[in-house]
Symmetry: C2
Subunit: 342 residues, 2 copies
DNA sequence: AAATTGATTGGGAGCGCTTCCATAAAGTCC
DNA sequence: GGACTTTATGGAAGCGCTCCCAATCAATTT
């Protein structure tokens, strides 16, 4: 269709290339009549400026990268990531940026992807889902000087801009709620110990218990991997410890836990109460409906983009930090609607 | 870090720009010793070629676009899309392409996104999830002459390359299975009538019944929207027609239907058997485990990329078509394991 | 030994845009 | 009404790469 160039448009509109460029970029100082004439030619010819040429000349690609590291690339088994991606994509649309998606599936992928990310002239900035502790990717990106926003607090946050929710506090509130309802043996299905999310949520769990003078019983703490099936196995491992309530560090794990509880012939919440984390759509329609911590996943992604654009515009110093609020959504699975706390 | 250019590398290695370029692009006819010397300088300096300049000079961006149209942007509520995206991303990694993701969330988004997609010099090709019938996007893309592969048969497939599964046949097999099990009032929760997937699956449903001399009872056909909640409401609408089996056009809807059935105080599969479509991970862990049609979602995405690269390489004529196989996965929800067919 | 071939290398012309600078035209001021 | 701004436009120099073409030189052929 259009192998047209600025030059062609300029000729047809009887102006110079510069003027067409000004029109294209909404620069002031173009006579209204000229602007109209140029726009008309553009419309008629169906001209679209060449992105690569623009990027090369202006040194801005209007493109952001979203990197989902290997450790989380089981990924699309947890609806958290699609939601996040959606929020990010919305923000990109809104601010007229293009989103490049990098799913790191393997070490091999990582080797291939990294040069592409750090290649100059491709991305104006990078969003990185924080992964495992010890993941090299963040350090490499940081070193490459690309504007970078991390989603989820990195283990080593010096100089890094990131967005997150206050996981400690959120978990603290959820578990406190169980304590108030009078449960005595409250367990937790934590995430893998090598991520800050997991650590923070477990921390909140422990703090809620300790503050009420409860002891921490290690047999009531098991580790899952944020997936349904992981929660299922974790719950099976937890059952012998006879918990009367469980705080799962993700909704997916909570659903798995509920399946394990039912299969063991126990009732929710009468025998074991369950609280999750995320408030994904299926939490509300689970049987029974899941009490859970709502975190604003898509808004988190949206905000991350806004911060990234700020970094691109105004430099990365000082690092920006945004902590978003969570909310405990009380439904049936915690027994609050049936039981009275002390 | 690197505002280095080819020129700098050339100077440091004592060769010309051309030679460095040859090394970078694995051209033959570079003396082994020179190649090594150049690579060493590149390694030492941490040089990465500028993507925009490359694209501009070579007229290839090594970037593909994935467009998910508005009609499916409820999107991440159905795990189908994440899976598909994953398959596509894998293929992109494998073939060293970068993936740009375009989630069309609104009419406004579409207006903003379309120019970006058709802007020359950004994408070498486009993957489009087929959306509603009458969606303009495909026609516009087709008209813009970008290499294009559609995922899911488009309503008007002339000249279009696409990948799909044989939905008619897959549905036919699923419903035939229910017929063989002896169910007499087999209903279906179809997808919205404005997409080819829905039409094909409904077609397969009807064909399976008609071929066995059954009548089509319109009250046994209701429409969902491929979501869990849509399936839930559809099932509620279906209950008065007293079906003894239901074929849902997606697993998400099947899950919703099962919830509605349970809430009505009926048992699965004793009172109503359920069959889904997709075989998403949660199908296996549903209660009872869901009998469903497995379609190779990620491989479909992978294949779509391969076809697209073929189009880019060898031209779009003739259009390529790939239909992948499905498989009926028999679990508990259809009652096959308890009941004997005639 | 002259001619031909083939493998290497360098030079230079773009790719299609942005943006700085110079220039021209049109106001503005006392 | 001349000196000075302000506004609008064109020209040209890149942005950093690829790739064609010509040049060089060694190896091979006749």
């Amino acid at each position: 269709m259009s192998n047209l160039t600025l030059e062609d448009i300029a000729r047809q509109a009887g102006v110079s290339r510069s003027t067409v460029s000004r029109v294209l970029n909404d620069h002031p100082n173009v006579r209204e009549e000229v602007r109209r004439r140029v726009l008309e030619v553009i419309r008629q010819t169906g001209y679209h400026p060449n992105a690569a040429a623009r990027t090369l000349a202006s040194q801005r690609s209007l493109m952001l990268g979203l990197v989902l590291p290997r450790s989380v690339s089981s990924f699309f088994s947890d609806p958290y990531f699609p939601r996040l991606t959606q929020g990010i994509a919305q923000a990109c649309n809104h601010y007229n940026y293009t989103l490049a998606l990098f799913l790191v599936g393997s070490a091999e992928d990582e080797a291939k992807i990294y040069p592409r990310i750090s290649r100059r002239g491709l991305l104006d900035g990078v969003l990185l889902q924080s992964g495992q502790i010890g993941d090299q990717l963040m350090d490499r990106l940081l070193a490459s000087n690309v504007p970078l926003v991390v989603i989820g607090r990195p283990f080593n946050p010096q100089g890094v801009s990131y967005v997150d929710v206050d996981n400690v506090n959120a978990a603290y509130n959820a578990v406190s709620h169980l304590v108030r309802l009078g449960y005595l043996r409250i367990g937790t299905i934590a995430g893998p110990d090598n991520s800050t999310v997991s650590i923070d949520r477990k921390e909140g769990y422990m703090r809620a218990l300790l503050e009420r003078g409860r002891k921490i019983d290690p047999s009531l703490i098991v580790e899952g991997d944020f997936t349904e099936i992981g929660g299922y196995y974790a719950m099976q491992a937890l059952l012998p410890a006879r918990p009367d309530a469980v705080f799962a560090a993700s909704d997916a794990m909570a659903i798995g836990a509920m399946r394990a509880i039912r299969e063991a012939g126990l009732r929710i919440p009468e025998d074991i109460a369950v609280v999750g984390f995320d408030d994904l759509p299926f939490a509300a329609t689970a049987t029974p409906p899941l009490t859970t911590v709502r975190q604003p996943i898509a808004p988190l992604g949206f905000k991350a983009v806004e911060i990234l654009l700020d970094l691109i515009e105004n430099g990365a110093q000082p690092p920006r930090r945004v902590i978003m609020d969570t909310e405990l959504v009380v439904r049936d699975s915690c027994g609050a609607l049936r039981r009275r706390g002390p």
